[in-house]
Symmetry: C2
Subunit: 418 residues, 2 copies
């Protein structure tokens, strides 16, 4: 697409934000309802478009340009459409995340300060080739009163296009909605242009491969929310059951090896009595164990685990704070004191005890949907749902108050929450 | 300072964060108490060091390298020291902003998710030459469990040095505190090095001139919290009292003309009956009125006002959303409907009605202190106190739970707030 064309799309979308930011919850819920209805009505067309993507992808598999498992991820079926519809209906039931008074305070008589939740603005989301992403992300954007520029994985292009049409048709039927709220871009080149438009775009959320995220972070002044690596750890404390440890590590590694919340390194206390049994069982489960990896900062994304024996819990915590990508780290232990120590001292977005690292996910956390997982230390951390798409504004309602008498000490503030 | 030396300071400070993040409120309050005590004890030495800064600055005034009003800002006196001590004592009374459970949720039986407030990490603050900044910023950093690299204005170098010694002496007397929590840098060159250390520094807060903030935003990958411009507006609606409008505009412009929350542009509804009287009164108050400015994006920082007559409130809102720096904008009106419209549709950090733009300030908002004012759309917006120095982490406490049965549908989540 031409530069000027992209700028035009972005400017129009930003302009729409001046209307979406004050849409009431009913309008937004009506939008979600209409999208759900249209998905229901157009099942056949959607699956037909998805089939086009699959045919093209199959060629890529034959040419060995796409893995079989990535091909599988492209498939939509009636079940997945049901899940999308269910998700839209669930989002409808959630309270409006914006235009809510967070607190209010009397600064002085008839001088009332309110902190009110607000949408962020124009958000760019770059997401992987999965056919359910477009609807999930659009619905979060709509419910939170933001506008979006979306760029999906090319392998889902036909599916994304029909979903984009469905969403925009649905919004077009609602009088209160401005146009150009949800905008779909197609090419990787377009992303480069988008990254330069920090005057209009308030936040970029890249999902998908490390390289994409790193590229984006290095090439934009727009705030970026996301994670580049998913180097998650499990620490096996000395006091510990064998079956549970085995099951949790196998789940954390094999349940979906390429996910960002899969475990990459197991640290075992040298006094854990079943180290050898554990390694045998993990190997039996199809996991390749690497005891002296070249680097502890590597994300395998496969049934491979780095394995290290450590002196004690303190060494484990130090290792994790050094090598973790601060995404998700879990301790397996029967010792409550050690559990608390680990959860307090490990500086990661998600710190778990006695459970799989794979729970680190917006759906599993009960956020309804997830726009991404963040390892940032500002704005939003961990799985990000509606709340991470909001900020706030301060509204101060006065009665002809001026600052001068407070500056001289003639008047004093009350600062009383009401 | 040598590059390696700066890197060393930054690494040590980041390492200290692994301890400060879990300090309890008592330790942090003890630190604030000891700092207050030491300021009380060392009044004479502090004022002596401040006098050194003033002598050097007086030469700059004579050489016309420093304005008289900036020179005045450098002065400490017993009154200002009292205010600092009072501020430290007030901060002590506030609840711990970190390690607090924000909410907890039962994902399933014996699988409890907690969202817990947490400090951010290592924060770089670059601040203007004002002698009270160092203590105010340090105290917020300490109370919020963060660590900091501070760089103050060179004209306050001697004052900052003695305050840095006082703070570090105080922290050194508390066993639970690690070393290297509060670190002072001196030269502008050091800032450039700091900006490259995105691996260690989690947030940069620049305070002061537009050029500084712009330079920082353009030269770092670290998230930046702040504002480069303070182009604030007042809209005078058609239904309006004369005295109040006059008083509020004069206060907003003349109370401290170089402050970021001073008004730069007044927009008046063409049907406001007292436009000419108003202009006369503003001129009498020493304000220069510019009716056709070259640009509405200029921050005068002086007793100068751009003045524009607009068709109606909608045109005023459109003008503000186009030219405002999204810092603070105020409507003066007797019409409640228009007030609400303005406050909802103006996309700025602070939207006011019937009061001075100068209320936009952490102290006046009752935050105890202020680390800066943000026009960002993510993390923190408007005046930033303790809360803007915090983030959160997710703690998930399980009982040997794995994801597989939830993925297959064998188990379902409860997602129940408790």
């Amino acid at each position: 697409m031409e530069k000027s064309e992209i700028l035009n799309i972005v400017k129009k979308a930003k302009n729409s934000f001046l209307k979406t930011m004050n849409l009431n919850n009913d309008s937004k819920n009506l939008a979600l309802e209409k999208i759900a209805q249209k998905i229901e009505e157009k099942r056949k067309e959607i699956l037909f478009e998805n089939q086009k993507d699959l045919s093209l992808a199959l060629k890529l598999v034959e040419e060995e340009k796409l893995t079989k498992s990535n091909y599988e991820r492209l498939k939509l079926d009636d079940n997945k459409l049901n899940t999308l519809i269910k998700g839209l209906n669930e989002l409808k039931t959630l309270p409006d995340p914006v235009n809510q008074t967070i607190w209010q305070k009397e600064l002085d008589d008839n001088l009332i300060l309110k902190k009110v939740s607000a949408p962020i603005g124009l958000i760019g989301v770059i997401f992987e080739a999965r056919p359910d992403c477009f609807i999930q992300i659009s619905s979060l954007i709509i419910k939170s009163g933001n506008c979006a520029i979306l760029k999906g994985g090319v392998e889902c292009q036909n599916t994304n296009t029909i979903f984009s049409k469905i969403v925009n048709d649905a919004l077009g039927e609602i009088k209160t909605f401005p146009q150009n709220v949800i905008n779909l871009l197609y090419s990787r080149e377009d992303i480069k242009e988008i990254l330069l438009l920090d005057k209009y775009i308030d936040l970029i959320i890249p999902r998908g491969g490390n390289n994409l995220v790193k590229f984006i972070k290095e090439n934009t002044k727009i705030p970026v929310l996301g994670h580049s690596d998913g180097i998650c750890h499990i620490f096996v404390d000395k006091e510990n059951d064998f079956e549970n440890v085995k099951n949790i590590i196998i789940d954390s590694k094999t349940q979906y090896p390429s996910a960002c919340n899969s475990v990459e390194t197991v640290l075992a206390d040298k006094n854990y009595p079943y180290i050898n049994n554990l390694k045998n069982e993990l190997t039996k489960a199809g996991i390749k164990i690497i005891e002296n990896p070249d680097s502890f900062s590597k994300e395998y994304g496969d049934k491979i685990l780095a394995f290290k024996i450590v002196e004690n819990i303190d060494c484990a915590i130090e290792h994790i704070n050094t090598y973790s990508s601060h995404h998700t780290d879990s301790i397996l232990s029967d010792n409550q004191e050690n559990i608390e120590k680990f959860m307090n001292l490990v500086d990661s977005a998600c710190v778990f005890s006695n459970c799989s690292t794979r729970f680190s996910d917006g759906f599993r956390f009960g956020f309804g949907a997830e726009v991404g997982i963040s390892t940032n230390k500002t704005h939003a951390r961990g799985p990000v749902g509606l709340e991470g798409l909001t900020i706030y504004k301060y509204k101060l309602q006065g009665s002809n108050n001026i600052v001068a008498p407070y500056a001289t000490g003639e008047k004093e503030f009350k600062h009383k929450f009401i």
